[in-house]
Assembly symmetry: C2
Homo-oligomer: 245 residues x 2
């Protein structure tokens, strides 16, 4: 039952505990939304004091991997609408309330990874990928055009039917059906102009300025799981970034 902690010379004990916990999380030892064993039990299992165990979990909480709920337990962070809006969706109206987007899937194709895509996804050029195109609307107006690239290997049976049948966020689908928990994203933004196709879909004129966002989504161990290019019509919306909070 007890896991032996091979105390190397360098790493602090709580980092070792965190590493083992992260490993268990990545292996799916506990399912989406499920509770971990109590802190007392985990401390026993790793043979450390409760303070050390808590320090390990503190970091997992800070990284968004797990969530503590006093009196109830510690749970795998689950991808609901709240988490999406709070952590991963950064487009807000210029004035007015933050809105939940409505998604329409325009295309679902299978293809091969280009060299640059492969590098970002940590796979080999030419590996099988899924390409998805979504149009997101905010308050009945199309605002965001998304192009997703997913490694086929991570999403073995994903089909257009499964994708469009979901009744929750796409990251919730990744998590519940494929055991992939998106923890962190890295985004690069630039200004560009609408080509004919984007202009038509977003309802702007060709050549209109658009915000381009290139996102990489990561799971445990900083493993990349999704590439996403978004084109955003920022006439009535903005990208919101709160740094250091």
């Amino acid at each position: 039952m007890n896991q032996v902690l091979d105390r190397g010379i360098a790493a602090p004990l709580y980092k070792e505990v965190k590493r083992l916990l992260t490993h268990s999380l990545a292996q799916g030892e506990w399912g989406a939304g499920e509770a971990l064993p109590s802190e007392t039990q985990l401390a026993k299992r790793f043979g450390v004091s409760i303070g050390t165990l808590r320090k390990a979990i503190d970091e997992l909480v800070a990284e968004g991997a797990v969530v503590r709920r006093q009196g109830r337990g510690t749970f795998i962070a689950s991808h609901g609408a709240t988490r999406l809006m709070f952590h991963f969706f950064h487009i807000v109206p210029h004035d007015g309330e933050k809105q939940y987007p409505r998604t329409a899937t325009l295309a679902f194709r299978r293809g091969r990874a280009a060299a640059m895509e492969a590098a970002k996804l940590g796979i080999a050029a030419g590996d099988a990928v899924l390409r998805i195109r979504n149009l997101l609307s905010l308050g009945s107006k199309p605002v965001i055009l998304d192009e997703l690239v997913l490694p086929q290997r991570l999403f073995p049976d994903l089909s257009e039917k499964i994708l469009t049948a979901r009744d929750n966020t796409i990251y919730h689908l990744y998590q519940t059906r494929y055991g992939i928990n998106v923890l962190r994203t890295s985004e690069r933004l630039r200004a560009t102009v609408a080509d004919v196709e984007a202009a038509q879909l977003l309802g702007v004129r060709k050549g209109a300025p658009l915000l381009e966002i290139n996102r990489v989504a990561y799971t445990y161990h900083d493993a990349p799981v999704e590439l996403r290019r978004s084109l955003v019509d920022t006439t009535e919306h903005e990208y919101f970034s709160d740094i250091g909070k």
Copy 2:
């Protein structure tokens, strides 16, 4: 010497300690780059255990207000080039190394706050403000056009001479000369097009797409201290945002 801790019913002790520490920081009890008293001393002063004191400081570290250096002490976070690049400067080359910007001040004027500016700065409409225009270059090419709005009250003797004579970042100037430590910024981005003036200064054609960044900078207690509008030529550079790391 000892500060009495009025333990209200609700707030945890370490939050109280943090509040008192933040207050001391905001009052400038310790100067820029200076060391705080040791943890042992602070624990005595507040009449709490070292664990509780450390938990308070943990949060200040997480917020970027102070920095711990093992064997040396805990210091007020100071605004050097490193911190600027790491926390507050988000423009990176599309490919290649991150570069340190060169700043040229184009204009320095005194004026009155417009209603919207006043609201964002937490001052009254019509209050005195300073307006500064900077052109930032990366690798000999102008890339960013900044327009800053500062409440005159916070920067009483700031002049063009003082501004341009500095040999460090502008946030370093805020900190050392005016005791204002910028801890956090909030940014809103959109795509726009270059007007005649911006086009000329940035060396792009009129109507070229530009990235517009509207920043509010905050110090202790989330008090706003600076408004900044940036226009960025993103043909060779991008805005980088790492979320949840």
